[in-house]
């Protein structure tokens, strides 16, 4: 019930923001000081990836953590810090290649070469941070469990129930009897998504699991694991659906083949949309204060702020829930797909 309401809200907001963006794009020259504050650029900036980790401040006074830019252009590997761009004001010259960055963090080469951007962007940095957090938590717990033979204590007593919950309540019932083979992958998947979701909720952090590239990779791995572990009965259902008349085969087989891809595709969209939407809602609610200020003056801002803060707090708590829920759903559905692909004839 809550999820449906949440999703409906998310979709609506996504639509609203998209349309607002399009409108903003359509009238780029219209500069009017009396115009309402437009939250879309700020929101988009917050949920998008960047080559530098922006903390606070605007323009010249902004505080950012520079991140390494790694470009592979026509056989040349160019590595430099994002601060070399000086917030996009300067071009970086490496040999005969001149790089410049636009306001949306797209790096271009002036002579028309297409650089392959392998930079440690904000999201990559956040993901590496998640890697460190995960290693500290779980490798620490792993060493502890090797050492102590009694009941778990300390860090392990916190980690172990989580791991057991994922194993016994998500993986075991859905994958089926040969779940042991998939345990490392599914556990890693769950905790990777969970930690990235939770890190994404920290103020100033990146929107990692709300980025389509990351959810695409995760769901692509699901696609690979599902189909490479699939047995005869799974492929039999796709290329020779039981109980389907021969005349319908030309329709059914393509549908089944498309079905192979729609399942992970839905996973990709679900995680991306849920996490992005959560961020967008929170940012929109905060933007309400600035919109009120631009429309009604400081009084309006003070009037709206308490309501806005209460809503943001509420949304934040829901986001914490969603962080767990989405990690749960992603892992659950992946387990289910693997289970369906590996189940013996029924």
């Amino acid at each position: 019930m809550l999820k449906t309401t949440l999703k409906a809200t998310i979709v609506l907001l996504l639509l609203l923001i998209t349309s607002a963006t399009i409108q903003a794009e359509n009238h780029p020259t219209e500069v009017n000081s009396d115009e309402l504050y437009n939250p879309v650029p700020a929101i988009m900036h917050h949920i998008s990836d960047a080559h530098e980790w922006h903390l606070w401040g605007e323009g010249e006074g902004s505080v950012t953590i520079p991140l390494p830019v790694i470009l592979y252009t026509e056989g040349n590997l160019d590595i430099f810090m994002s601060s070399d761009f000086n917030h996009g004001h300067l071009a970086v010259v490496k040999g005969n290649r001149v790089y410049s960055i636009d306001s949306h963090s797209n790096i271009t080469e002036s002579s028309g070469l297409k650089p392959l951007d392998l930079s440690i962007t904000k999201n990559v940095a956040s993901m590496l941070l998640a890697l460190v957090v995960l290693l500290i938590l779980f490798v620490g717990a792993g060493f502890k469990s090797k050492k102590n033979k009694g009941s778990p204590n300390g860090l392990l007593s916190f980690i172990e129930p989580l791991v057991l919950f994922v194993r016994d309540d998500i993986i075991k019932p859905n994958v089926g009897t040969n779940y042991k083979k998939f345990l490392p992958y599914l556990l890693t998947l769950f905790f990777f998504i969970l930690i990235n979701n939770l890190l994404g909720l920290l103020p100033g952090s990146a929107n990692v699991t709300g980025n389509i590239a990351i959810t695409l990779v995760l769901s692509f791995i699901t696609l690979l694991v599902t189909n490479f572990s699939a047995n005869k009965s799974y492929w039999g259902h796709i290329f020779n659906p039981p109980g389907v008349p021969l005349a319908l085969m030309p329709i059914m087989i393509p549908i089944e083949i498309v079905g192979i891809f729609t399942k992970p595709f839905a996973l990709m969209i679900r995680l991306f949309a849920n996490i992005s939407a959560g961020h967008i809602i929170i940012l929109s609610l905060i933007s309400l204060i600035f919109m009120a200020q631009s429309g009604l003056g400081n009084g309006g801002a003070f009037g709206v702020a308490p309501v806005s803060v209460i809503f943001v707090l509420f949304m934040y708590l829901i986001e914490v829930l969603v962080a767990f829920l989405q990690a749960y759903i992603f892992t659950l559905l992946t387990s289910l797909f693997i289970g369906l692909a590996t189940v013996e004839k029924h």
Binding site: T121, I159, P184, A213
Partner: protein, 167 residues
Amino acid sequence: MDPMALVTPAIGLMFWTCVVFVLLLVLLKKFAWKPILNAVDERNESIENALKSAENAKVEMQALNADNERILAEARLERDALLKEAREIKGNIINEAKEQANVEADKILTSAKEQISTEKMKAITELKNTVAELSIDMATMVIKSELKDADKQKKLVTEALKEAELN
């Protein structure tokens, strides 16, 4: 900004996600999932074993108790049997003793009777002898006194001769 940018995956980010995820998978598999789950499985096993052995011990205890009770009951039965036997033996002994005493008493009685009768006979014989002697003595004395005077002796002889002639 282009709204499509939000749903356009960046190659670099995909590359790094693969790297990070595979790295995590390898490291966590070796250093986290295996030791944690092994420890859990081992603990589960040891708990199960402990429970099983406790159950076994309980069953054994019950068997022991049952054994004990059986042994006790047997002992009780044996005791009762022994007591009964003892009582029987006691009765027998008493009866036997009584009988034996009776027999003995009879024996003693009969021997006493015999002795008494022998003694009696002896006494009677002795008495008879004594009486005979006394009577002889008396007869002697009588005869002596009778035969003091010759007349009387003559008379007696004649009388005796008379009698003998008659015979």
